[in-house]
Symmetry: C2
Subunit: 561 residues, 2 copies
């Protein structure tokens, strides 16, 4: 029903219409669906894909990244790999004004392409990126410190799924109104009033995406594609330590845009020189009307308060919490939580930090377990996953940057360490900085310690008076500081309900009794929302109507029919 749907659809739209239709169904049903296979197996991707992707990645190292953008020609190289690799990729550097001017000039023709034309191009970009998913995975691995399989999944397939999800929401939102409508109103005995109305989808302006170090693609793609498909040219400002994954993304996006006859400056990379504060300059630029940010609470709140000319979407820090009341599968609970704490050395924004456990212990299928036994069970599960360095590093990956190491030093002094963080030699990368998770015992009174985020492989086992007390602490801390995830273990329906009531009150997503292959720190695109926007950890969810609806406006014209 869009204007132009009776005309031949854009060829790229036609090519990807089935995928978009399936995605539109998926966001309505929110059951399981994925468009991009998450297994890097040669059976899925072919025998040569992995080696080709690795080679493509390696070809970027110690060289000028191939990107033809406006700018003076100088280059920046700011990355340092958590795996100890020498990266030294040199990216073209431009001033904020140059980038914004180039993006602004590209806007009108992109706006005129309409929802269908833009969706076709964006879906072709995703297809192109998927064709280079091993290249992307290597780039994510060696900048973020994620182990390869996780980098392939979270940084590749799942990031593409989240991008598609954002495109689907935005397309649904742009096309919920017809492109043109007839309007006929009876008036007395005369001819009816007849008007033809045209509804134009109009972007907000230039969009800015500010990437993070740990999930350069996964956390950037939803905003990037939600803004782009709604007509906004996008400037991608990567984290200085994780530029390559987004540089590759921008490279292929520009390639597709140019092939489709659009100005490639619709997607621009904005790498920054050390200390340049390019994100701040861009975020305050009057032409920048949408900002997506993932990172610290401090900077996220600064953006919300200061980038007043823009709609600002932020994901910040929080206090992910698990309330442990009882379980009918003690071993499964410990395994499940142990995996959550170990994966990517706890460097996910969704990793549980505060484990609230009654000091008198809990009832389990193995009988009563004391507080110390519960903590020991979780610690043992972590220990088992990390005991063998070769297998362990495929879960933990490497430590993303020095601030995590500093926190690991600091946390050893705040309470009794139940599980010590160990330094592990990476069998394949001798320069990799690998640390196993630590668990520190606290009491409910140690509020000052556990009510701040300790990003990294750091969790607290907090002894409470009772489960009711645990829920009170969850309410107070998540209410005040926010969280992206919460979990509860209980065999008592009343406790599960009480936890759900608290989760609703403080606006955090809750996972109940996870003992198998689903983990509190993982969310599935098209089904799970990531973040709620209902607590201080994030002002938006990935992805829902509110995430896309403010990225464009409808401007109407009407004429007598």
């Amino acid at each position: 029903m869009m204007a132009g749907m009776t005309e031949t659809p854009h060829p790229l739209y036609a090519r990807h219409a089935d995928t978009l239709t399936r995605a539109l169904t998926a966001i309505t049903e929110r059951g399981y669906w994925s468009a991009y296979p998450e297994s890097p197996s040669p059976r899925v991707y072919g025998e040569t894909a992995a080696a080709e992707g690795k080679a493509a990645f390696e070809a970027y190292l110690n060289g000028d990244f191939p990107l033809d953008q406006p700018g003076s020609g100088d280059r920046v190289a700011t990355e340092a790999s958590p795996f100890g690799l020498e990266l030294n990729v040199r990216y073209p550097h431009a001033a904020a004004d140059e980038l914004v001017a180039a993006a602004s000039a590209a806007l009108p023709a992109w706006r005129a392409a309409g929802p269908q034309g833009r969706a076709g191009v964006c879906l072709e970009i995703l297809a192109r990126l998927h064709g280079h998913v091993f290249e992307l995975a290597n780039a994510v691995q060696f900048t973020s410190g994620q182990a390869f399989v996780m980098a392939f999944q979270a940084g590749g397939a799942h990031a593409l799924d989240r991008a598609l999800e954002a495109i689907a929401y935005a397309y649904a939102e742009m096309t919920r109104h017809p492109g043109t409508a007839g309007w006929e109103k009876a008036v007395g005995k005369g001819d009816p009033l007849r008007m033809t109305k045209t509804f134009h989808v109009v972007p907000r302006g230039v969009a800015l995406v500010i990437g993070c170090n740990t999930f350069p693609t996964w956390n950037s793609y939803p905003g990037l594609f939600a803004s782009l498909v709604t007509g906004n040219p996008v400037i991608v400002k990567p984290h200085p330590l994780a530029v390559l994954p987004l540089a590759i993304t921008v490279r292929y996006a520009r390639e597709v845009l140019a092939e489709a006859g659009f100005d490639p400056n619709l997607v621009l990379l904005a790498p920054e020189a050390p200390g340049e504060k390019l994100a701040t300059t861009l975020a305050l630029h009057p032409a920048v009307k949408v900002v997506d940010f993932t990172g610290s609470t401090e900077y996220g709140e600064w953006l919300e308060a200061n980038a007043r000319q823009a709609s600002v979407f932020t994901e910040k820090a929080g206090l992910n919490t698990v309330v442990i009341d009882s379980t009918d599968d003690f071993a499964g609970m410990c395994r499940n939580l142990g995996f959550t704490l170990t994966l990517y050395s706890g460097q996910m924004c969704t990793t549980s930090q505060n484990l609230l456990i009654p000091r008198a212990g809990i009832d389990t299928d193995q009988g009563h377990r004391s507080f110390d036994e519960v903590v020991a069970g979780i610690a043992a599960a972590v220990g088992k996953l990390t005991a063998d360095p070769a297998r362990g590093v495929e879960l933990t990956g490497a430590i993303v940057n020095d601030s995590v190491l500093e926190r690991l030093d600091e946390v050893a002094r705040v309470g009794e360490t139940v599980l010590e963080s160990r330094t592990v030699e990476h069998p394949a990368f001798p320069g990799a900085v690998v640390r196993t998770p630590t668990i520190v015992k606290l009491t409910a009174d140690d509020t000052a310690t556990y009510s701040r985020e300790w990003f990294g492989p750091i969790s607290f086992a907090i002894a409470t008076d009772s489960t009711a007390h645990s829920l009170e602490i969850m309410r107070a801390t998540v209410g005040e500081k926010g969280a992206l995830t919460a979990g509860v273990y209980s065999t008592d329906e009343a406790v599960l309900d009480a936890a759900e009531a608290v989760a609703i009150d403080v606006g955090v997503h809750l996972s109940c009794n996870l003992t198998g292959g689903v983990f509190v720190n993982q969310s599935a695109a098209f089904s799970d929302f990531h973040g709620s926007g209902a607590n201080p950890a994030a002002n938006a969810a990935l992805t829902d109507g509110a995430y896309v609806a403010n990225r464009f406006r409808v401007v109407q014209s009407r004429r007598h029919a």
Copy 2:
């Protein structure tokens, strides 16, 4: 597909489901539809409705308004009728904290009612208000200064249509995701992973609606009902000079809520004592998470900058503009514009202020018309509509407040007055303050004069070098100051297209060649968007997805199936 839809639907939902379904279709099609007849004729509303409504209105005068709300028991009476009536209605007065506390306490049960339960109650409130539409119309007339028929239509039927439209958008948004979803993911050769996911619609908190003097109901209802149906208790802060229409609204809303078993404090009236600045206190309250405001640019921008804890929706001032290039119906154009300038003495936020006309004149079906002849034609049309006082006042109504009179004095000194504003004796209300529209001639160089809003019966005929110059002025002034409406008259498709291109660039809705019964200052619910949110005159449109999507969040819980 909401959780609970297999259960018996809420009886109020069942009662109004057909209306809601029809409204949901209307917002998808955006053709003509209305749920509430706009004709106050006895043939539509019955022989006694008008008299009963008038009597109900009069019963409020010089008395304590019947509203049982929290508070100390003191009362405020701040209204002064543009028609010279003694109103002296005394409203219960409460402190901001009392109102917020009462609203907050009402939230959990309302949240738990779910989208369907809340929609049923909100639709019943609309039905109840519709049953009292003559009472409302009288209250709107005698506080805003609108003539009766307009008060009935804009303040009654159309306001209810806009409320229903907002409810429909919000309901669609709340139910675009299922209440529960199954999720099943195949994993290797074992059993698939199976989860049951529950998606809770969670309101943002307490909502505040700040009403205006001219359209106390029409401009307040969309925000009021969008916030209420999404689960937010609403505090309604009326303009001190237009309390009664919103007091009546709150009265019947509370009646319906109580009958349906909910806390009536879900809707609260917050009349203020002179100089109290209650809107500011409420808008900055940490529990207030949504603010809707209609009024001055200055205060709207203050709210946007300072009510940082809330989503703020504002409609402010702008420079409504008409570009006159040529016409094949000179008489129709003059009649149409004359009506627009005359209706409610130009005191609509959508009334055209700046008429941009080439100084060399325009081509018409009556031959070439000089600049002065075009202006004279429009002035004559205004003159004809206002010549007879008895008929004139049924269009102009009365002047809403003294600041309009002050501007009328001031404008007589800024240029050559082509059409003088006249004082008219109202035949029925000797105390009524009635003024006819004025038109002042300016040149394109008088930017300082025409680039501010002169709210009231004030328009400028601005001589430009050419239509291209007119479009440049439109681009510059609307781009910088915003507008709610724009119009263009031309027989040249290229000019219409150029005007539409400018309208898209500056984000203003455009009406082309209106010469009949549709006017640039009127928008039809379910079809026309009011405001675009794409220029400085408003940061949101009535009503679209962006207007409702940020009023709630989805909080998810998941369990193994």
